[in-house]
């Protein structure tokens, strides 16, 4: 049975279950790439141009390791998706991922593209052509419905467990049950950064060991054309999730502070963090800490900043 590799990085943190269900239903063997290691980051940094973001660099490193081990490698190209009446775009890196990969690693020719572009074709058509490229056109329809059903259950499970890691068969990297008495900190960032302990330098564990409870809003933005557009104007799909998460944190008043985690040279973060900061200033007085991570970020530096942030939250809480 031919094997198809999926790299554990970037948008696999959103859609891995769906992709795996689709490929498995086509009768293919799905191989999930290993979790990010320092070695992947170093390889990626060596190969990719300096100004790419950290998750992309490690993605390149992961491809270099995974591609020789599988027959085909899934390269998603997330261009545009429809929510309600509006079109939302992926960030330039999500759109150009297969092209960049081919330019950096021309020796690997086993990539197979999944092009999601709701402007010119439906989601079903996108999956049909993926099946065609893999040579399994016959069973695509059943596989597509199986994938859609899996996507639903996965999303529900992600919302319940508060982490997408169950998709990869990891129960939790955090350990024991949350402690209700500690101050809660809302973490806002892309799941492929927050839940990747190598890239984020285990930020969730750091928040917990500093004496606070990390909370991540995993609900995906699925409000039909609504809320996000109200006063906002963002049309990056995965970034709207972050704005919605921030808004929910502010409305619910369940957290004492917000931790914005993004990577250096993440272009969308410059806009998104600015919008969030504005909404927070307008809506509440939550303290915000912005953490920018790159391949040079040190454990101690991040730990110090998180600790002092949590100290600040405690002091404010006691006042």
């Amino acid at each position: 049975m031919p094997t198809v590799g999926i790299v554990r990085g970037l948008h696999a943190y959103h859609h891995f279950s769906e992709w795996r269900a689709f490929l498995a239903a086509l009768g293919l063997d799905v191989v999930l790439g290993p979790a990010t290691t320092r070695h992947h980051v170093d390889t990626g940094v060596r190969m990719a141009p300096a100004e790419l973001c950290l998750p992309f660099k490690s993605y390149i490193g992961q491809i270099a390791e995974l591609a020789p081990l599988v027959d085909r490698l899934l390269l998603p190209r997330i261009v545009c998706q429809r929510r309600g009446r509006d079109h939302y775009f992926g960030c330039p890196k999500a759109i150009a991922l297969p092209d960049v990969t081919r330019a950096i690693l021309p020796e690997f020719v086993n990539g197979v593209e999944l092009v999601l572009d709701d402007r010119c074709q439906t989601r079903a058509a996108a999956f049909r052509s993926l099946a065609g490229r893999l040579g399994c056109r016959r069973r695509w329809r059943d596989a597509y419905y199986a994938a859609a059903a899996t996507e639903q259950t996965t999303r529900a499970r992600t919302n319940i467990t508060g982490s997408p890691l169950h998709m990869f068969g990891v129960t939790s990297t955090l350990g024991k049950e949350p402690d209700e008495t500690r101050p809660r900190v809302g973490l806002i960032g892309h799941p492929y950064l927050l839940f990747d302990d190598t890239l984020s330098l285990a930020i969730r564990t750091k928040v917990r060991s500093a004496g606070a409870e990390p909370v991540v809003m995993t609900n995906e933005f699925d409000l039909p054309g609504g809320r996000a557009r109200e006063n906002g104007y963002l049309n990056w799909l995965y970034e709207v999730d972050l704005i919605v998460a921030a808004r929910k944190f502010i409305e619910m008043g369940s957290v004492r502070g917000l931790l914005l985690v993004s990577s250096f040279a993440c272009g969308t973060a410059a806009v998104v963090n600015e919008i969030i900061r504005r909404e927070v200033v307008a809506g509440s007085q939550l303290p915000i800490l912005t953490l920018l991570l790159d391949e040079h970020s040190g454990d101690a530096g991040v730990m110090t900043r998180v600790e002092s942030f949590v100290d600040l939250l405690r002091t404010r809480g006691n006042m």
Binding site: E51, L52, R77, D99, I104, A270
Partner: protein
């Protein structure tokens, strides 16, 4: 209405007459300077791209000079450019300024039309006539500007003394601002051409040809690219920017010259499937076209962490190896120093000269 728009290269010379003919007063800020950039960088998000910071600084200056309406080109796409208008307006409102924001977007068209009609005291035919007249004058200005700038680019490497040429261009810009009709425009262009022909020449017989590609603002605005066109010209290189004020208006405003972007898109197809903004596809396509038409090298300028330009860079490097044309890519931000920039430029030019010599010897 006292209107202001983002300052970008010589585009002000084209847009100002259009807005003035429509009946608006135009506030033109002074050319961007270190102070403008510092003011913009202070208010802008830290990791925002350089054009945002510089234009924010110059908009701030416009508001201080009394502008009450800010006009932005805009779009909803994957590049951050689409957010400039709204984000800058938010930031400037927080800084305490009051103004109206006009974004040139499809869904804003009715509001823009109403504002234009209001400028003509509510008369639709009058507004229409003034708009058409404005666009005609703008188009002629842009055309004149383009023809003179092209001539200057061709002549500059062969001049023995460059000061005269700089004075000539400054003088031409002044005359262009003062010209009120097509006759005035033609006369100013003819005057410059004649004076250009009279400038003393040097001994040079041949010049290197370099294509300038990259993000629009970095290619067009001499302040952020350290007047790369002039500098290269004075180093003895014929520069051909893929984008000029005229072409920018044509491409983005009026969607003209599609044949050229089609050719660029077609050439880049092997490496790049989808345009993500920031002229990525055009840059890549023009790199390949430049190699085909015998250019000596390509210079790619982009703001630090510009998303489209960063992602397209690996593909450009691959293409430059495949089609065998040297590529120099430089990212610019508010900390880029002139000396470092110039050194790299000079090294690149000497490399191109050496390469050409070696080639002519082997042939």
């Amino acid at each position: 209405m006292k209107a202001a728009f983002p300052y970008m290269g010589s585009i002000r010379l084209v847009i100002a007459p259009i807005l003035e003919a429509m009946g608006a007063q135009v506030v033109t800020p002074p050319e961007p300077s270190a102070e403008t950039m510092a003011a913009g960088a202070r208010l802008a998000p830290e990791l925002m791209c350089l054009p945002f910071k510089v234009t924010l600084g110059s908009m701030l200056r416009c508001l201080e000079m009394g502008a009450d309406t800010l006009v932005y080109a805009s779009g909803s796409w994957s590049c951050r450019f689409g957010y400039y208008g709204r984000l800058q307006a938010d930031i400037l409102r927080d800084a305490g300024f009051r103004f109206e924001l006009l974004e040139l977007r499809r869904d804003e068209l009715p509001r823009i039309a109403r504002r234009v009609v209001a400028l003509s005291q509510g008369s639709v035919p009058r507004a229409l006539l003034r708009t058409l007249r404005g666009i005609r004058l703008g188009w002629l200005t842009s055309h004149t500007l383009e023809s003179v700038e092209t001539a200057v680019r061709q002549v500059r490497p062969f001049l023995s003394e460059h000061r005269g040429c700089r004075v000539l261009i400054a003088d031409f810009h002044r005359r262009l601002r003062e010209a009120r009709n097509s006759f005035g425009l033609r006369r100013s262009a003819a005057g410059v051409r004649a004076e250009l022909a009279d400038l003393p020449r040097n001994e040079r017989r041949q010049a290197l040809r370099v294509k300038l590609v990259g993000e629009s603002y970095c290619v067009l605005e001499p302040f952020v690219n350290f007047a790369v066109e002039r500098r290269l010209g004075e180093l003895g290189v014929v520069v051909d920017p893929f984008l000029t004020a005229h072409r920018w208006m044509g491409f983005h405003g009026l969607r003209l010259g599609l044949n050229e972007s089609d050719r660029a898109r077609h050439a880049s197809r092997r490496y790049w499937a989808e345009c993500v903004g920031g002229e990525d596809q055009n840059s890549l396509g023009h790199l390949i076209l430049a190699a085909e038409s015998g250019y000596d090298g390509v210079i790619h300028l982009h703001p630090l962490a510009c998303m489209p330009s960063t992602v397209v860079l690996p593909a450009m490097m691959r293409a430059s190896r495949d089609v065998d044309i040297p590529l120099l890519s430089m990212s610019l931000d508010e900390h880029t120093a002139e000396a470092g920039f110039t050194t790299r430029l000079e090294a690149f030019v000497s490399m191109l000269e050496r390469r050409r010599q070696l080639r002519s010897r082997t042939v």
